[in-house]
Amino acid sequence: MKLLIDSIQLGLLYGVMALGIYISFRILAVPDLTTEGSFAFGLSVSAAVTSLGHPVLALPAAVLAGAAAGAVTGLLQTRWKIHPILSGIITMSGLYSVNLSVLGGAPNLTLVRAVTIFKLLPFLSKNDAKTVLPVFFACLCLAVSILFFKTHLGMCIRAVGDNEDMVRASSIHTGRCKIIAFCVSNGLIALSGALIAQYQGYADISSSTGILVVGLASVIIGEAVFGRRGVTVGFLSSVVGSLLYRYIIALATRYSPLPAHMLRIVSALIVALALALPAFRERIGLARLRKGDERNA
């Protein structure tokens, strides 16, 4: 039971990040490596501001920080025409130094003595707050994301990911759309990092390593359950995917002989297999055709 509740809490918090990943990976169709930096950016900003005694202010501060990181990647990509993957890597690398400075030069910061949002709620114990707040933030972010992509601006962003040439030819500034999308995406990712820092009670800069693969795995697992449909279903399935991912991981660490440090390779394998699936299917299909021909000949 504890296992299930823990994975629901973590799944929802990381689900906020999965929403951000869905925006870059599925809507813009660009795997955005800024994620690795912006998650840690949110984590560090949140920890730093919380330790100064402002746990609530820490959240919007982290969102703004993440959005700024997204804007940098967006500008590198659109204004200065740097390859999408490379511009993400550049921002991510630069953010490493920024994050260390935010944490005061140390790679981690503990919040044991600080007041976090989980200790702030009246009438709720800290343990209940750890379930209620993730539910609240996941629902809020889910609703905002779904509504945003139903607006004219959201639709322009979807069209940029779908057929960029057409959008350019219809007088919409494609660069601006992309930058806004990266801001929203990385803002969500940073918010997720910010919540995780306060949830865990410490910020560790290395906890964002490989986080993109975790997000991609959530999006893909969600799609395995819901199928690839519209954007609204996509957002919902990403959060569900994140929940499932956390539960699978929790079960794996509990019952398998694998030590915890093997988790990332499991995530990497899940993503690689899921992305390779169409190619596998095609090969199997071709092999069947060939066999069929031989039989008929």
Binding site: M155, R158, S171
Partner: protein, 265 residues
């Protein structure tokens, strides 16, 4: 309406493959004119359209549209005034978005507040009316993803996207060439009706010479980046495909050659 003066565009300048795509071209279109454009491969037809749309900037010359100087205007700003339909049905629409979303994108591109919900009820009603006029049954499939439509249906949607906000200039770049003959005729009919109803100033590239001579009000024949013949009125009405071929070989001292051009119907 459209005024192009002394347009020059040279590709790969200073290299062995240097190619003059537009050679001091001059062209004036009056309001409401429907001009068909023909010419062999590499005559500069698509280059002319690209120059008008701002895909690249001209090396020399000026482009005016309805008094506005387009010469140095970026592509996306020109697109507010110009509608363009390409040959490839995949090019003009977003495949994973529905018909109404695609149309809404085109309709509110200049006016919508970015955070207003789209498509609005008003828009949906407008799109229904305009689609119904095509007699393709698209008005009942507005929530269908465009990627699931046939080529002809996609071109019809693209045409509506380009004309739902009345453009100052409509450019059709062989927009029926990738369709089967019956569908091509259907899309042409929709095109004629739309241009007529909204009195659109239109240029249409086609490889079907007899269609070029019978559609619209004026025909240009381009060659080597220039306007070789410019026909309208009675002269154009009397012109046949054979006359045009003879005129061409008389002027250029070579036979009109194009693998894509349809010489006879």
């Amino acid at each position: 309406m459209l005024e192009i003066t002394n347009a020059v565009k040279v590709f790969a300048k200073g290299t062995p493959i240097e190619h003059t795509a537009l050679n001091h071209l001059n062209l004036t279109l009056t309001d409401g004119e429907f001009v068909t454009v023909i010419g062999s491969n590499g005559a500069g037809k698509s280059t002319l359209f690209n120059a008008i749309c701002g895909t690249f900037l001209l090396d020399k010359g000026r482009i005016l549209l309805d008094g506005t100087d387009l010469t140095h205007m970026p592509e996306h700003k020109r697109a507010l005034m110009i509608g363009r339909v390409f040959q490839d049905p995949m090019k003009g629409t977003a495949p994973h978005m529905t018909i109404e979303e695609n149309l809404s994108l085109a309709h509110s591109r200049s006016t919508a507040r970015p955070l207003s919900f789209a498509p609005s009820k008003k828009q949906t009603a407008l799109f229904r009316d305009r689609l119904a006029a095509f007699h393709m049954g698209l008005e009942d499939r507005m929530k269908t993803q465009v990627g699931l439509l046939s080529g002809g249906e996609r071109q019809a949607v693209t045409l509506l996207m380009c004309t739902i906000v009345t453009p100052k200039l409509l450019l059709l770049d062989e927009h029926t060439a990738a369709l089967d003959p019956a569908t091509a005729e259907q899309v042409m009919e929709i095109t004629r009706k739309t241009v007529e109803t909204y009195r659109l100033t239109t240029m249409m590239i086609t490889h079907n010479i007899s269609q070029a001579l019978t559609t619209g009000t004026r025909t240009l024949m381009m060659d080597e980046g220039e306007v070789l013949f410019d026909m309208d009125g009675a002269g154009r009405a009397r012109m046949t495909v054979d006359d045009l071929m003879r005129m061409y070989s008389g002027t250029r001292h070579k036979a009109l050659d194009s693998d894509r051009m349809l010489l006879k119907k």
